[in-house]
């Protein structure tokens, strides 16, 4: 552990780790960038429009054009803003959105860090994402941004409580916080079947903690946290949010949709590899997020808070109790010594 960094073995290990990290981060980053394109195309199709079509074939290079435009823009610092924190906020957002991928398994035990507390780690990093929002609102030194940040932070923290409780009811029958163990427990039956209400709830909470519509009332372009952001900082924020959505959808796939497992372990479906199945499930969930955006009007801040505290949290808590009761009644509490 405490070996000097000049040791060739340690250096090689560090290099291998960096390569593995890049192998995950580059696809996720590109996915986050092109999610914007996919979202615009899907929304356009639902609204009987065409969507981006001018840059490259089918408009596929639109994210490049958008990114280039944002890079070319001037970065404006509001008067009296805290420049360091103002710049730190988007970086924190992107970093926290991506760090969750360290524990998400792409195959049996195939994670960058196969932590025994992987689920806890993911819950922690997604909770920390609130820092990106609150730092951005505070550093801008503008009351609109700050008020929006307070609201967004309150909403994210509220739904994090629900997410934590959903995690508990999923983890209870598995008896492990290790994500690989959670996936392997779904070999016979994906958890989406017994935990369907919790899957819906988790998805709603995912939209809420990643500032997705219909919970982005505090994020309208003129009244949101990002109101003072421009140029690269703004682009990074948007990228970070897309990445956060990807990460949360990956967590939802792992918890409810069997992660890297194919739908049935027979015949040709097993030919596709684990990462491909995970990617497919994540893409499906993200399409669902866009679909919901097209169908559901925004919730006011107080409505979002009502959903969190009067619906999501009590329902998740009740489900924990029910799950525990069922496990005890069936005598299948994991780790417990069978009675008698």
């Amino acid at each position: 552990m405490a070996e000097p960094a000049t040791d060739p073995g340690a250096l090689a290990a560090l290099g291998a780790l960096a390569r593995q990290a890049l192998a995950i981060l580059v696809p996720v980053g590109l996915g986050a960038a092109w999610f914007g394109y996919a979202e615009r195309k899907l929304l356009a199709a639902i609204q009987l429009r065409h969507g981006p079509s001018r840059v490259g074939p089918l408009g596929l290079l639109q994210p490049l054009a958008d990114g280039l435009k944002l890079v070319a823009k001037e970065t404006v610092f509001p008067v009296g803003s805290n420049r360091i924190v103002f710049l730190l906020a988007p970086i924190v957002t992107v970093a926290l959105a991506l760090v969750g991928w360290a524990v998400i398994p792409l195959g049996p035990g195939r994670a960058l860090a196969d932590l025994d507390v992987g689920a806890l780690f993911l819950a922690a990093t997604s909770s920390l994402a609130v820092f990106g929002v609150i730092l951005a609102g505070w550093a801008a030194n503008a009351r609109t941004a700050f008020r929006a940040a307070l609201r967004a932070a309150a909403r994210m923290l509220s739904f994090e409580v629900a997410i934590g409780l959903v995690l508990v009811s999923v983890v209870l029958p598995v008896g492990s916080l290790n994500l690989t163990a959670i996936v392997d427990a779904q070999q016979r039956l994906w958890f989406v079947v017994p935990h369907l209400p919790m899957f819906v709830l988790f998805f709603v909470a995912t939209l809420a903690v990643t500032d997705r519509p219909p919970f982005d009332a505090a994020d309208g372009a003129t009244t949101g946290v990002l109101v003072e952001y421009s140029g690269v900082g703004y682009g990074l924020f948007r990228l970070g949010r897309s990445a956060a959505l990807i990460t949360m959808c990956a967590l939802a796939s792992v918890l409810f949709l069997g992660g890297y497992l194919p739908p049935v372990a027979l015949g040709p479906v097993t030919w596709a590899s684990g990462p491909a199945w995970l990617g497919l499930k994540v893409s499906g969930l993200m399409a669902l997020a866009v679909w919901v955006r097209a169908a559901v009007p925004r919730y006011r801040f107080d409505q979002a808070m009502r959903i969190a505290w009067k619906l999501a949290v009590p329902a998740a808590l009740a489900w924990v109790v029910v799950t525990a009761a069922v496990l005890v009644a069936l005598g299948r509490v994991p780790g417990a010594v069978p009675a008698g």
């Binding site: 199709a45 639902i46 009987l48 429009r49 065409h50 001018r54 679909w291 169908a295």
Partner: protein, 174 residues
């Protein structure tokens, strides 16, 4: 009340909304693929001005300067000469002044000037919008099929062409 609770709990309204949007997803698009497909044009649309030739290819304009006189925007400048007939030695039309009112077309006794169907006349400089005689004639040659259809085979005077007298004509089906 139970009904309301059940609807809320089962997310009935939410699912119906999702169904509605899903149905829209597979419907044909209502929007035009804009720069690639032109907007439908009403008959008699007044676009880029042009100078026309008669059936044997002789320029119609007799340089009577009625259009220059009637133009409310002072967009037209004419100089005339007489050799074997009256003709315009100079016919300048400043499109950046033109208001596409069509009064020149109404005034012309020989159906020489006409507003064609082309409405995409944007340029990168004002100079390019100053149309000289040759440019107007070339436009006329290019657009004659569309312009001539509005005048009829034997019409001489601009006022004789079939023009929608009043009100708006419905757009042709796309």
């Amino acid at each position: 009340m139970l009904d309301t609770a059940a609807r809320g709990l089962l997310l009935i309204d939410l699912v119906r909304g999702l169904g509605l949007t899903l149905a829209a997803l597979v419907r044909p698009k209502a929007a035009r693929a804009d720069p690639n497909v032109m907007a439908p044009q009403a008959p008699g649309v007044r676009g880029e001005p042009a100078l026309r030739r008669d059936a044997v290819g002789v320029e119609r304009c007799i340089a009577c300067k009625l259009c220059e006189a009637v133009c409310p925007a002072l967009a037209i400048t004419l100089e005339s000469a007489v050799d074997d007939r009256r003709r315009a030695t100079r016919f300048d039309l400043d499109l950046s002044r033109c208001v596409f009112c069509g009064l020149c077309q109404e005034a012309c006794p020989v159906a020489a000037i006409a507003l064609g169907p082309n409405i995409e006349v944007a340029t990168e400089s004002r100079e390019e919008l100053c149309y000289a005689r040759d440019r107007l004639l070339a436009t006329g040659d290019h657009r004659e099929p569309a312009i001539g259809a509005g005048f009829g085979p034997t019409a001489v005077r601009g006022a004789l062409r079939p023009h929608p007298p009043q009100g708006r004509t419905p757009l042709p089906p796309t």
